[in-house]
Amino acid sequence: MKLSTRKLIASLGAAALVSTLAVVTVPAARAAAPTCTTAADVEICKGTLANGAAYTFRVPGNFRGTMFFWEHGIRPTYPGISAVPTGIEEITPANSVTKKDITKEMLKAGYGLAAYDGTDKGARGWNNIARVEMLKEVIDTAVAKYGAKIQKKVIYGSSQAGSIITPFVEKYPTYADSVGILAGVTPSVADPIQSACDIFYILSVFADPTIKGCAVFGTKGLPGHMISAGELGKVVALLRAWQGNYGAPGLEYPAQLKGSPIPQRSALLLTGLLTGVPTKSAHMDGISTSTLVAEHSINATVAILENLGEAVASGVIAGQSLSEITGPGFYDNTKTDWAAMLDEADAGRYNLGLSGDDGINAMLGVLKAAPRVTGNADAIAKFKALDKSSFTSKHPTILLSNEADRLVFAGNSSRYVDRKRAVYEKALAAWEANKTGKKPIWNTLAIYAMTPEIYTKFLATGAPDLTATPAESGVGHQTFSVKQMKAWVDMLAVAAKSGKVPTAKYVEYIATKVPYLNGDTEYRPNDLKYDSGF
């Protein structure tokens, strides 16, 4: 399996460095006027925001009045282990693996494009508050340049952008006509990060007691980066070992379980299930079996193995960055009920892989008894209140996620829908009571890219081929097909004009034209494991 250790470490390094400057700064909204050229019937404008970050506009000759403003995800800050972006990396949604974007398709459709580099005075990371203002500045600059030619504005973005766009449209409601969130972290980053930190903790109990994980995050600057990199390194070492033997040897830790018939892979599977790591991955479909992968739960275990690296890396990248905002001690698991975290369906479905009820009970028993991590009350409160939004935006909002996103779990999207629905139902009840004013309309839609049913390939030995072509849809983070991304932006464009998200019937129809796009608007992925309430 290619876990791309260097990449993980590289990402971590960047994230840790980001955090050194991830403080609240609000740039002045005075971007330099852009300089523009025209080529192949597309006007390309470039300029810098007041804080020095670059922005660009691309407007085709057939511009129809709808301007898309792209918000990219988390990026590293400093050179060192990994390459640092030298400017604007993405103009439009792009597949993070193939790098294929839809710039050409969007221009051809007559959409105007805007994008910027989310660097605030050299810092990236979890700089959401600054980026809300940077986005406003980009839009102001575009409107100043194009005036009434811009009839509709679509605010859309990926991953971390979910945590930027959501508060943005609440703060500046007139700046958007429709909103798109792609594989987005929203409502609160605290919920998925708590799960990522749990991964470290559970692995420390079952595999490597030297792992401290999020408990040691919070040191600023390079020292903090080195500490978090060290924690990630321990996990990567574990994953490499399991890559070789699929976790077949018996548990070495904790002492109570050493010598038990429970293999390490059962603990790996339990770790994934307790923390919500997808049981499908780029190469493992959670179903197919072979002489070596004798049962579907073993397939799912290898999927978790394949996913875990990025899941933990994202925990490190975001966690270290967040810890610089919250201070050390944001992670606390003193009240975690591990048994309650194991879904009844998972315990039944993956019973064999978990070594049966006895294995489950034994592992949950030692987790219950293991010493807990006690956090710092102030840091915990700040952590839980990160990216606090009201979900009162009435803009048509369309989310697109991969069914088995291993970095930003798909449950983020359904959680966002839940939050919006609660607000909508309250507003509707109030309207029903008085029948005054405009009747609230439901204006949020979450759609999902699904995996093929079967796609695992096996080598002649029976081992899964983890170097084969990955699943063509539904796995990975921000890895959508051109057709999926184009269908999404088309829906956003029309929603901006109509003020409404598409009907279920329409989504069902479009899904027949776009491979692996789920036309079932009632589909719900696995829920996130935590709900901090924001």
Binding site: G286, G348, M491, V494, Y509, T512
Partner: protein, 452 residues
Amino acid sequence: MKNRASLSRSPRKSLATAAAVLAGALAFTALPAQGASTPGVSDTEIVLGMQLPQTGGASPGYNKVDDAMRAYFDYVNSKGGVNGRKITLVAYDDEYKAGKTVSTASKLITKDKVFAMVGSVGTQTHISVIKDINRRGIPDLFVNSGYSGFYTDPKKYPTTFGALGTYVVEAKILGKYIKENMADKTLGILRQTDDFGRNTLAGLNTAGLTFTPDKTDAKFIAGAQAVPGALDAQMKQLQDNKVDVVIVGATASAFAAAVGSALKIGYRPQYVVISVGSDATTFQTILGARGTAPAVSAALLAGTISASHAPSPGEADDEFVKAFKKINDEFNKGPAAGKVWDNNVLQGMNIGYLTTAALQGAGKNLTRPGIIKFIENNASKLTSAGLSPLGYSAKTHEAFTGFWIGKYDATSVLKPIDGTRKMWTTDSAKGLVTELKYTRPAIAADALPKVG
């Protein structure tokens, strides 16, 4: 995969080009909102969905249930259907792989747009989709699993109803029999460490039977029995501890494996098996695949004690057996081996009958909440071949609350253990096991339920 041939739905093919997708997008708000009509129900048709292992290691026996159900529905359709609507059953093969259960459920719900799921087979597979089916409010009728966790808390799974008695009820009843009739024997248990085995142990414990870990309590991880010799150690453990009576809380494939392991060491205890583990067809098919001749596997099964809520398929004089057998002969379009009359076919026919009764009772204005409410409030009107009443109510969605105890004879027919059938009843909690006095309502001359 078996499926019905028709029920095609035609997307608007004229809008097939990429450009048209955008054009369609521009028009989407003008399209009508999703209709308020009940999915899977038209003036002429009711579409039902089912998931079961039609292929793979877990399929023997169970793979006959869908054809039997369809045969009964085809018979109903030949008589005009229910309230003028014909019943269409769409069944997909999940191979007893939970991942496929998830994908086939999605297909049934979103592509086939079924009104209800009915008769789906398997605990480990169904647990993977039960939450989603319930969340969507889709009736999840007459599930072929005895796991009590699906039925005893309707607040948790409000749309799910069982088709069997629960493993707890059955274990309590068998436990009472064992306690009263085998007190001088050393008792042991072979159980799966999962929902099934947990239910079985709970029922036996409630009946007052206890087992000693690592001595008379032998357990294994469900699914492990697929590996040859996987249960050797467990059977050796029971033999070493001089267990005379082995109670089996496991699937038929595990029971077959256990019998094989015991034979290798010359161990021939009395087996008492929860009914899904002792299905004769399944047991013999599994052993047959390992090279055991039918006569030998029949001999191995003979003498095994088990239980049933329904008449034995070999009871040729039973009026339900007689009627269902006739319908099976005339309407079952399954493969030749699949339509051979046995307990699985009887169970499939009975679920078809029960479903028809529930559809009748729900009335012409058929809705999802309507049929759930009807079943909850009218269990006494829902008769079937079962020899005990159905337990459905707002408080529990358990099916049959009674069992009779029998012993397999040399022809693999389960017969009442002392010659006369006595029904016993209890609940899935701590209630006592008592004798059941119940007279099953007769089947009508046309073999159709008369409800509503």
